[in-house]
């Protein structure tokens, strides 16, 4: 499982007369973990659709590894790119959670060997035998994500992967992504998200889109500490960065673990005064 590089060069796309992408240039190296943020209508989802072959750019070129996306169908792109949609209910159908998660690998002609491990990672082993619709809404989202991870793609494209999830579920998603990012065979990840706590844990680089263009491309540690830049996007820094800024912690920590380590030798006041 080798990471694949994403290259977008001068990509343009319009829905009829409405221009959604006005010339996107973006390179995501193999194994990079990138978050895509921006206001509604910035073109983030449209860009992700280009990466999986659901839309063809009207100008410019989009490649994943050595594959030119405009020459591939979405089911062919599925061999390299796993796309987790924002709303999972549009793909669940099998009789059990387990067989639904195995659907992707089976379509690709691969073994479903990764399925039990993925179910375990996302805390779905207990519901593996249930019908997907007998499982609560947020868990269905995890089922859909499990289906994508079980396909063992070299590129993961995620659209709001943590929306509606509780804390424990969010941590599982972060851990599952971290496991795949680690090591020499790191999976490339692009996640559209406005959950900056998730971005802090899962991404090293943040690309900001606005009005169909790339407005900024910065390391996560830098952007998450930039209150003004985030406010312009209608976002607030995650708690970790806020604590780091308020207490002047060294090294711009953005992971919860880093902040906890920095605070371990703190003296705490007894009351809230």
């Amino acid at each position: 499982m080798n990471g694949c590089e994403i290259r977008v060069a001068g990509a343009r796309f319009a829905y009829g007369a409405q221009e959604a992408l006005r010339g996107i240039d973006l390179t995501i190296g193999a194994g990079e973990q990138v978050a895509l943020v921006g206001p509604n209508g910035a073109g983030k989802t449209t860009l992700t659709r280009l990466l999986v072959g659901l839309r063809r750019p009207s100008a410019g070129r989009v490649t994943v590894g050595d594959w030119d996306v405009s020459r591939k169908r979405p089911d062919e792109m599925a061999r390299r790119v796993g796309y987790a949609f924002q709303h999972s209910d549009q793909q669940l159908f099998a009789r059990t959670v387990e067989s639904d998660v195995a659907f992707g690998p089976r379509c690709l002609g691969r073994s479903a060997g990764a399925v039990p491990g993925v179910l375990e990672e996302l805390g779905l082993t207990g519901v593996a035998h249930l019908h997907p619709y007998d499982v609560p809404g947020p868990m269905r989202k995890l089922v859909a994500l499990a289906g994508v991870l079980a396909m063992e793609p070299c590129v993961l494209v995620l659209d709001e992967p943590t929306a509606g999830l509780d804390r424990a579920q969010r941590l599982r998603v972060v851990a599952a992504l971290a496991r795949r990012a680690a090591g020499g065979e790191g999976v490339t990840m692009l996640a559209v998200s406005h959950d900056l706590a998730f971005v802090a844990e899962a991404a090293a680089r943040v690309v900001v889109m606005r009005d169909g263009r790339v407005a900024a491309d910065r390391p996560a540690r830098e952007l998450l500490y930039d209150r003004e830049a985030l406010a312009a996007l209608g976002l607030r820094p995650p708690a970790t960065a806020q604590i780091g800024m308020a207490l002047g912690l060294a090294g711009s920590p953005i992971h919860a673990r880093e902040v906890v380590d920095a605070l371990r030798r703190t003296e705490w006041r007894r009351t809230a005064e």
Partner: protein, 253 residues
């Protein structure tokens, strides 16, 4: 003081389910409350909401033991996905919001007045003539809340209302809840999103596997916000700070 809704030793099982979704829950809701119900997915927060609002078992089916009583006459409900809660038949936001009062058979003028008031309460009178299908998620969700409030309910139950919204819209929605409670409609919110809920809650309830495991002031009970989790891990003694300013104030250096 008689509670708006009082649950005593309530257990509830969905139709055909092997295990109860709620076990032995006792809880009271009073006027002016903004009650936040939280817990892991599947812990029963959504079910508790349905029981409080009187939809379980009446509409949902299933079996309820224990007692539900109180002075509340009417309850409104709001779910996470805005577009599934619309009639799909109304050409304007005003029509959609007026749908509820029209169902009560009130005279036309009273219906339109109620719709207008609800739109004001949600700060969206400028959307009155817009087509619901053209609105953003955040705007649409406010229309849904206005539509529920237009009925003049005693209680408004919201199930993770900001799950589909971007952060600005989510903040705006939660910030409206205290005013709604003060205006005479008690609010109950089920959500895992404690960052926003803890800011507006007057009381908190935590469920675990269908049982009520904690109930009380937000500062004591809703301590699973990012700031609280970090503080706990860094050795901060209880009560844990729920947000970053509170955490910073507790640092003695």
């Amino acid at each position: 003081m008689t509670a708006l809704i009082a649950l005593e030793h309530v257990s509830f099982t969905y139709p055909g389910a092997a295990r109860p979704a709620l076990t032995d829950v006792s809880l009271e809701l009073a006027a002016g409350d903004v009650l936040v119900v939280t817990g892991e997915t599947g812990a029963g927060a959504s079910t508790l909401l349905l029981v409080l609002a009187g939809f379980a078992p009446r509409v949902v089916g299933g079996h309820l033991s224990g007692s539900r009583s109180g002075t509340a006459q009417r309850c409104g409900v709001v779910f996470a996905r805005p577009w599934t809660q619309l009639t799909g038949l109304c050409p304007t936001v005003r029509d959609e919001v007026a749908f509820g009062p029209a169902s009560l058979g009130r005279p036309r003028d009273a219906v339109l007045a109620a719709a207008g008031r609800a739109l004001e309460q949600l700060r969206i009178p400028h959307l009155a003539d817009r087509e619901p299908g053209q609105l953003s998620g955040g705007e649409l969700q406010r229309v849904v809340v206005a539509a529920a409030l237009a009925m003049g309910p005693d209680v408004l139950a919201l199930d993770d209302p900001a799950a589909e919204l971007d952060p600005e819209a989510a903040d705006a929605l939660y910030d409206l809840l205290p005013a709604i409670a003060r205006a005479g409609t008690a609010v109950v919110v089920a959500t895992p999103d404690l960052e926003r809920a803890a800011r507006v809650a007057t009381r908190g309830v935590v469920l675990d596997a269908g049982r009520l495991v904690a109930q009380g002031a937000p500062a004591e009970v809703l301590d699973a916000t990012d700031a609280a989790v970090i503080a706990r891990a860094a050795g901060c003694p209880p009560p844990l700070p729920l947000d970053v300013p509170a955490l910073v104030r507790r640092v003695a250096r």
